[in-house]
């Protein structure tokens, strides 16, 4: 069943990642070129084979380092000859660029799409307090203008509103929440490219400052400089390339809820449930088939929310699921965010997770390699009123 879904005709065939740091020695564009060339070579392709280019959210003219490189910048740097390209923000989260590429490939516009996400937030924050929501001397506009007068300085604060409601409804404990950060730092210790590699204890977690209840410092991701690139190819092309294709088995892209930071329907669960439901409706696989979960972790609570919304545990039982951390550890029944994720490896903004999925499926994860053949990996992006989900399967 379900063979008509277009994502099943697409696979990841190569991955690349620049140096990842808290202060790059290279420009954002050069980091992007590094990642792109590595991904193209990894796929067994050359620049001439790349006929599609996609990125999220596209280049932005703000000094936050959130997205300094867009599709035109990379297209010109690599002199790509493209049948199709896109870069934009109003999509189902960061994987929107991948979802767009699926459509383009199946429309016959291209065969091998280079997809990238570049961040330069570590360097940007050295220059100034990088607040992507407010701009000095200008009146606030757009959806977040409803928050503008209320000393809303960072996404952490809006999101803390949902997380606090989740704590209220679920009864999750601080000690349980801490397991997400502790687990990811433990994984990061085995990832040579991770930014923070020294394990943390529950005491460390509790001793760190509270940002906005219930968020503590270690619940937040780590701004970094870096670029990730992947190649998504049409299935028939992918089968002729050197890496075993990582097929896109199913995606979740819907927007059934109110897409609004203050009016979203269910504060405690956010936009994720319908997106996950859509993903599962497009595959015969079930949550029990998933070997690794690479869940969005802009904040630890996103990961907690996705555990429930993907169906790995029941509603409001994620606390019990992660208690003690054994179940989500590398050697556990559902390893979570095996690279260290955004909270320890660096905020590569969901593309770090796609890179890690292929790294694990291709057996390249070194000391953090999950035993056996991790052939089914669930991954997700974003929180609040937007969400995207993707199930990857080793062909």
């Amino acid at each position: 069943m379900n063979t008509q879904y277009p994502e099943k005709n697409c696979a990841i065939t190569g991955i690349g990642q620049s140096e990842v740091s808290r202060g790059a020695t290279k420009s954002a564009l050069e980091l992007t070129v590094d990642a792109a060339l590595e991904a193209i070579a990894d796929a067994g392709l050359t620049r001439a084979d790349i006929d599609g280019l996609a990125t999220w959210p596209g280049s932005m003219d703000v000094n936050t380092g959130f997205s300094p490189v867009g599709a035109p910048g990379l297209q010109d740097a690599l002199r790509l000859k493209l049948g199709w390209y896109c870069g934009g923000m109003e999509m189902p989260g960061q994987y929107g660029a991948i979802f767009e590429a699926i459509g383009a490939i199946n429309s016959g516009l291209c065969r091998n799409v280079l997809i990238f996400r570049t961040v330069y937030e570590a360097t940007a924050r050295k220059a100034s307090f990088a607040n992507s929501l407010l701009h000095e001397g200008k009146r606030a506009q757009g959806p977040l203008a409803w928050f503008a007068p209320y000393y809303n300085y960072a996404a952490a604060m809006q999101q803390a509103l949902y997380f606090n409601r989740y704590v209220h409804e679920s009864g999750i404990t601080t000690e349980q929440i801490a397991q997400i950060s502790i687990n990811q730092r433990r994984n990061a210790a085995l990832n040579p490219k991770a930014i923070y590699r020294t394990p943390i204890t529950l005491d460390d977690y509790l001793a760190a400052p509270i940002i906005a209840t219930p968020l503590r410092l270690f619940d937040c991701d780590v701004p970094c400089d870096g670029s990730t690139a992947i190649i998504v190819s049409r299935m028939d092309v992918a089968r002729d390339l050197p890496n075993p294709p990582v097929r896109i088995e199913a995606i979740g892209t819907n927007m059934h809820y109110r897409n609004n930071w203050s009016q979203l329907d269910a504060l405690a669960t956010q936009a994720q449930p319908a997106v996950a439901e859509m993903m599962w409706s497009r595959t015969d696989l079930k949550p029990k088939d998933v070997r690794i979960a690479l869940l969005y972790d802009g904040f630890s609570f996103h990961t907690i929310n996705w555990l429930e919304n993907f169906g790995f545990c029941e509603r409001f039982e994620a606390g019990a699921f992660i208690e003690g951390g054994k179940r989500i550890a590398l050697e556990g029944e559902l390893p979570v965010n095996t690279s260290g994720g955004s909270m320890s490896a660096g905020r590569l903004h969901a593309y770090g997770a796609v890179h890690e999925a292929c790294t694990q499926m291709w057996g390249r994860a070194g000391e953090r390699q999950v035993a056996g053949v991790p052939d089914v990996i669930a991954t997700s992006t974003a929180g609040g009123p937007l969400a995207g989900a993707m199930l990857l399967v080793k062909d």
Partner: protein, 139 residues
């Protein structure tokens, strides 16, 4: 009134949101309401998603509501910021899917609770009357 020192960032006023941000001039919290079915439409737009009505105009509400969710902010994002303070979503008592981002003031941050009854007050900055909420002991 808030004693926090940094100036509040202000919204750009437009035809849809001006009533909301200026109703405080007359002590009124104005929320768009459908003249046909009575549904409150927020954020404001002249269309009712419940009945397709186009007769949607700002109307005063009671100014009472409850704290749907909140966060106690401890991080001092800028040097003058007085912490802790409370960012909240308040549901108006007239309709449970109208939520307003706001600060809860005139109480200790640690005393804010889920479901706490609150009432509106306004703080003027330039041409914006910012709705804030404080505990409503009468609620």
């Amino acid at each position: 009134m808030s004693t926090q020192i940094p100036p509040r960032a202000l919204p750009q006023l437009d035809l849809d949101n001006k009533a909301f941000w200026t109703g405080g001039q007359n002590g009124e919290l104005l929320i768009h309401k459908c003249g046909d079915c009575g549904y409150y439409v927020h954020p404001p737009v002249n269309f009712c998603p419940e009945c397709d009505g186009r007769d949607v105009e700002p109307q005063p509400v009671s100014g009472r509501g409850t704290v749907e969710t909140f966060t106690v902010v401890h991080k001092q994002w800028v040097p003058e910021l007085r912490v802790p303070y409370v960012l909240a979503l308040v549901t108006i008592e007239e309709q449970d899917d109208v939520r307003l981002a706001t600060n809860i003031v005139n109480c200790e941050a640690e005393d804010v609770r889920f479901g706490m009854p609150v009432r509106v007050l306004f703080e003027r900055h330039e041409d914006v009357w910012t709705p804030l909420f404080e505990p409503d002991s009468a609620g």
